[in-house]
């Protein structure tokens, strides 16, 4: 059995788990929840073996030593590892807080990432290490960065859920904030899906798709009609989410998760993620940069965006100490922090140029 079969199995398990978690929310049948959890765990085990197998395959091909064969060297592998961390963090939360409702929020993120891998047609081949990545720092730097990203993803979903539960009036700034954030996510994903469907056969790599064809099927279309129509649809979507956000509030409100628990999970995952990110992402990254490039800090876009992300979460941790900043305001910071994470992780590699462009090779 090779790793791609196991990866496929875990993907199927997560997608079914997602459906079951959502069904569990809708029907509140305990058996459904138990099956959802079992499937998630099965998917997690399959994925763990898949990662280990790929590690072994990489080790045999690369002949660089076991520590340097960690499968974390391109976009595909890093996304897989991100999903793995996310599911692990979720399972821990499910057992510690004895609640399954949150699964209906996390498994869709995992499924979306896996779907993104699949539809973007990114290279899943094992590639040997380029000279810059041949260092033992690769293992700790990349691994810890992704563990922290997964924790931040958790805080993002709980932060968003907190906002959904806590806001009622449509003119409340935090209500507008979460509906707009969610709207932009939906619109960007939909527009990227359209790009994919339109250009799939014309494009060779996902980088090419994103660099040259991003939004070409919608907003940046050659035809003025299409772009105006896309803008109109996007505006409609935004309005729809804003107008009917209350429905989502009722759904999330019916979870067995109190606002306090959501706030607690948000804080705890950031309180875990922040030190891991500081040490693994920034400090180990700086030491490695010092060894490889002769500069521990060179204001390269990836470094700068990591610092921006770090500021966001540092601000989150400090804002809890400030008067009048508890609750909704800090939840907004947690949500924005993850937007910065997404940009640090994907945006920098795909949209900006710099020293960290390994993902695009």
């Amino acid at each position: 059995m090779n790793s791609s079969v196991l990866f496929g199995l875990s993907t199927v398990a997560y997608v079914f788990a997602m459906i079951l978690y959502i069904a569990y929310l809708a029907f509140r049948r305990n058996q459904v929840g138990v099956i959802a959890t079992t499937l998630t765990m099965a998917g997690f085990v399959a994925q763990t073996f898949a990662i280990l197998l790929r590690w072994k395959e990489f080790y045999e091909i690369g002949q660089m030593g076991i520590l340097r064969a960690i499968p974390l060297t391109n976009l595909y592998e890093s996304l897989i590892f991100f999903v793995w961390c996310l599911i692990l963090a979720y399972l821990i939360i499910e057992f510690r807080y004895r609640t399954r409702s949150f699964g209906a929020f996390v498994t869709p993120i995992a499924s979306l990432v896996l779907a993104f891998i699949d539809i973007s047609g990114m290279s899943t081949n094992i590639q040997p290490l380029v000279p810059a990545l041949q260092s033992n720092w690769l293992l700790v730097h990349v691994m810890m960065s992704f563990i922290s990203y997964a924790l931040f993803a958790i805080s993002f979903s709980t932060g968003l859920m907190y906002l959904i539960v806590k806001t009622e009036k449509r003119n409340d700034p935090s209500y507008i904030f979460w509906t707009v954030t969610m709207g932009i996510f939906v619109i960007v994903l939909a527009a990227m899906g359209l790009d994919y469907l339109t250009f799939k056969f014309a494009v060779k790599s996902q980088e090419e798709l994103i660099r040259s064809y991003l939004f070409r099927a919608s907003f940046r279309s050659g035809s003025g009609f299409v772009s105006v129509l896309s803008l109109a649809v996007a505006a409609g979507l935004l309005y729809g989410i804003w107008r009917y956000g209350g429905v989502l509030r009722k759904i999330v409100g019916s979870f067995d998760l109190s606002a306090e628990t959501l706030d607690d999970i948000t804080y705890k995952s950031i309180a875990m993620g922040f030190p891991i990110f500081t040490l693994g992402g920034l400090i180990f990254g700086a030491i490695w940069a010092d060894q490889a490039w002769g500069k521990y800090w060179s204001w390269d876009p990836k470094e700068t965006w990591s610092l921006i992300t770090w500021f966001f979460y540092a601000f989150y941790l400090h804002s809890r100490l400030m008067r009048g900043w508890k609750g909704k305001k800090v939840a907004m910071v947690a949500v924005l922090g993850f937007v910065a994470v997404i940009f640090t992780y994907l945006g920098v590699n795909l949209l900006l140029s710099g020293l960290h462009s390994y993902g695009s090779q």
Binding site: P131, S135, T278, L279, I287, D290, G294, W297, S319
Partner: protein, 477 residues
Amino acid sequence: METGKQKTFVDKIWDVFASVKLAAVIFAVIALTSMVGTVLEQNAEPAKNIRILVKFVGEAAAPAAYEFFSRLGFLDMYHSWWFLTLLFLFCANLIICSIDRLPRIWKLVTAPIHALTPDHLEKMSIKRTLTMKGKGGAADQVSASLKAIGFKPVQAEMDKDRQVYAEKGNYTRLGVYMTHLSILVIIAGAIIGVFFGFNAFLNLPEGQTSSVAYKEGGKEIPLGFDIRCDNFDVEYYGESDMPKAYKSWLTVLQGGKVVMQKSIVVNDPLTFEGITFYQSSFGTVPDSAAHGVAILRAVSKDGKSEEIQARVGDTFTIPGTGIQGRIVNFSPALSVDQNGRPFTYEENMTNPALYIEFTGPSQRFSGWVFKRLPRTWQLPDGNRVEFLNFWGVRYTGMQVRKDPGVWIVYLGCLTMAIGLYITFFMSHRRIWVNISEEKGQSKVLIAASAHRNRAAFERTIEKLAGMLAAGNKGGTK
């Protein structure tokens, strides 16, 4: 002055700098301006950034936007006066915030824990009550249990009650200060690096020696010793053009004497007298065929071998045979087109090959010999010509750095790691156990507090309560 309440100007400034709000503003401004700095390419030629700006503001407005950002220093923003001012404000805020809050925290850290009234204990966040039968000895039992969970208890007599209390991790409240201090240490290290170090570059062709490196803009920096590039080579994965390693063989000389030799690759630099050489780039001089020396090893059928250095046009002999080889041509990167004709596909030495004509007493033959393909070294008559190197036409590009502040930066990083660990994973935990004797049995109240990770400490208290209850059963037998 008379009232003592009126704040002086200095006090007001102090209050501004001591506020978390200012920190929030500085965070936001640094973050927002940095975002602009990552979109505009730093220190790039104007055309590049104008192209980027066209995407945002359109063809017409781009030159004006470029002018605007250029005036504001955004094209080299991380070294602009206003960005350095922001960093300075950030440090000032950090220092004053810390000094402002330190006395209160210091008191909490150093003031020893003392007995509290039962009313006070009732208000604690963690509480457990239980009763212990039997006369006396309860306090000692509590002390023993506290020791068992790792605390050092103190006993005190209250009016009627006895109280046993203990604390742990009082110094962990200083973790935040350690983290804040570490940022200042890192910045101090960076400043030392800027003033007492340098960042330079050196392109060194094979066989050449340099006693200087060059800063951006071309300014020479004397090294204080000589550095020579003996050789540069690229290793590839198999027969593909995917690079596996960039390697330079370097020699350090002082007064003409060799003092150090090392081959460097990316991630493994050479350091001599505080100056470090990093493998950073490489290149090939144009018209390489005319300038390089081919290094070959000719091996005859019966095993005689000889190393040969020859230029294009030179002739050599395979030892022990009458066969002569003449190097006719050199290609830095040879490939074969659809019709089977060889052609050079790039200037860089990705796939160097030599065209050699052999003339012997009985036969004549010729062909391409590839450095990366040992199977092409074998000649049809059983002799062999190994193509080892084509030397003297490549240069290694090295980042040259001296940074006496780097160890201070690392010290700051270590401090930060420890500080963060203490801040997020440890806490100041305090326990009071109040024992009041009533009708031959002891009423026990456990009250406790932890300034972080309360849930974990509650489990410890649960354990303590369990131990006391169990010990109680044992005592009545």
